[in-house]
Symmetry: C2
Subunit: 256 residues, 2 copies
Amino acid sequence: MGKIIAIANQKGGVGKTTTAINLAASLAVLEYKTLLVDADPQSNATSGVGIDPKNVNAGLYECIIDSMHPKDVIMKTDTPNLFLLPTNADLVGVELELVNLSNREYMMKKALEKIKDKYDFIIIDCCPSLGLTVINSLSAADSVIIPVQCEYFALEGMGKLLQTIKIVQTHLNPNLDIEGVLLTMYDGRLRLANQVVEEVKTHFQNMVFNTLIMRNTKLAEAPSFGKTIIMHDAIGKGSVSYLNLAREILQRNGLT
Amino acid sequence: MGKIIAIANQKGGVGKTTTAINLAASLAVLEYKTLLVDADPQSNATSGVGIDPKNVNAGLYECIIDSMHPKDVIMKTDTPNLFLLPTNADLVGVELELVNLSNREYMMKKALEKIKDKYDFIIIDCCPSLGLTVINSLSAADSVIIPVQCEYFALEGMGKLLQTIKIVQTHLNPNLDIEGVLLTMYDGRLRLANQVVEEVKTHFQNMVFNTLIMRNTKLAEAPSFGKTIIMHDAIGKGSVSYLNLAREILQRNGLT
Ligand SMILES: Nc1ncnc2c1ncn2[C@@H]1O[C@H](COP(=O)(O)OP(=O)(O)OP(=O)(O)O)[C@@H](O)[C@H]1O
Ligand SMILES: Nc1ncnc2c1ncn2[C@@H]1O[C@H](COP(=O)(O)OP(=O)(O)OP(=O)(O)O)[C@@H](O)[C@H]1O
Ligand SMILES: [Mg+2]
Ligand SMILES: [Mg+2]
């Protein structure tokens, strides 16, 4: 039975997509059948694994609004065991269309339930907001990973995000766990980065993953080739970090 | 008569808030009376100039939804000539409330018209989306600055943003100009950064500001002290870049 993990943080540019793509790729390399769901109209997760969003005729939008079966839109990637539920720019309109539906918070859950038992893991890349699309992702998820860039504004937004998660747990999805808080783009030479790490570890204790993702230019380069970090730089620090993260998650879930 | 400039890009973390705060501060230092409008529920522009969003009882939300007069919520900052129209977390709910109003795209324009002639410049910090709040900002603005981080995903999203600007120009605000495209977080040692600069300059020609904002840790540190870059590191590269940007904009508008 697949585990659905949402990658969410309303702060922009903290490494949600980079984490979604490369964690999914790492789980796939470790022989777990993994589906990457692109729930951001920017479709960065789609292009980041080498698929041009302009060639996506039907994606997540059609699964949510037109009840299309996800199996009819899911695509293979060049990584074995890694599949993609793509998105294109149509997703921008989904929030206005969901607003007046009765079960508007559960539309993504309904769509993903059709394929949940076909995968070991389903990773959802969220857009930088706390709107209906993200609420849908959190309602569909079993747990959420919160990437936090080691900078001031990213730290500041944590309170609001945890509040939203509590609201979802109370009213929409009582089973939603916090899989963990992931520190990203860490550069040990910067005082600010070390302050943020200190603060996050003090506040969130053992919710914080031991794995820390260093700032690493190969991670920023990989999507320009449409490749995951494993395909772009298999033995570099970026790949090692995300493989470590995958193993840590497997351990936390009693799978290794 | 104040000029309203929106700082917009749906890609997260590209330097919208950093540009809004420090361009506004630079214009203020050059003796132009400037209002910074925080149109992002994350309220980073508010905290970035030293005001705690939790102490904001009324802000942009009340001006848009309750027709409160902006002069009753505008606050002074520790920079002479720099004022703030703050926001708090209530702004998250504004999009759902605007959806069913008849002139939903013009609510911010109506609010800012009440104070437009009291300032030389009004700078709007937008959230990372293309939803109704951003459409409101673009409808109210005379021009828009597009910050582009020198990385792959930021480059990829430019097409979608320009499409949205065209739609706003055609249907909502024919006077909306593109003030310019601003390259941010540039690190000359990285091949990727140089490729992005090359690509942006080829596509957008003289729409691209000559001023390039380098990656500079003081810019990332300043908000943790609630200070603009001018107050935090007046003679450093960050301040010099943003003062140069202010001067370039003044020149483009025939003001120096
Ligand atoms: N560890 C890292 N080292 C260096 N660059 C990184 C790292 N992680 C992410 N990046 C780069 O930083 C930028 C922001 O990351 P990313 O796009 O994954 O964030 P995001 O949270 O998904 O953004 P958005 O809020 O727009 O969805 C991207 O250009 C990405 O390539
Ligand atoms: N030139 C720069 N050099 C170094 N760090 C920078 C620079 N500009 C911005 N930053 C830092 O990068 C991060 C992202 O910038 P910022 O928050 O301004 O982007 P944004 O586009 O407003 O993000 P969001 O999409 O969440 O609104 C912040 O932590 C900021 O301090
Ligand atoms: Mg993303
Ligand atoms: Mg911002």
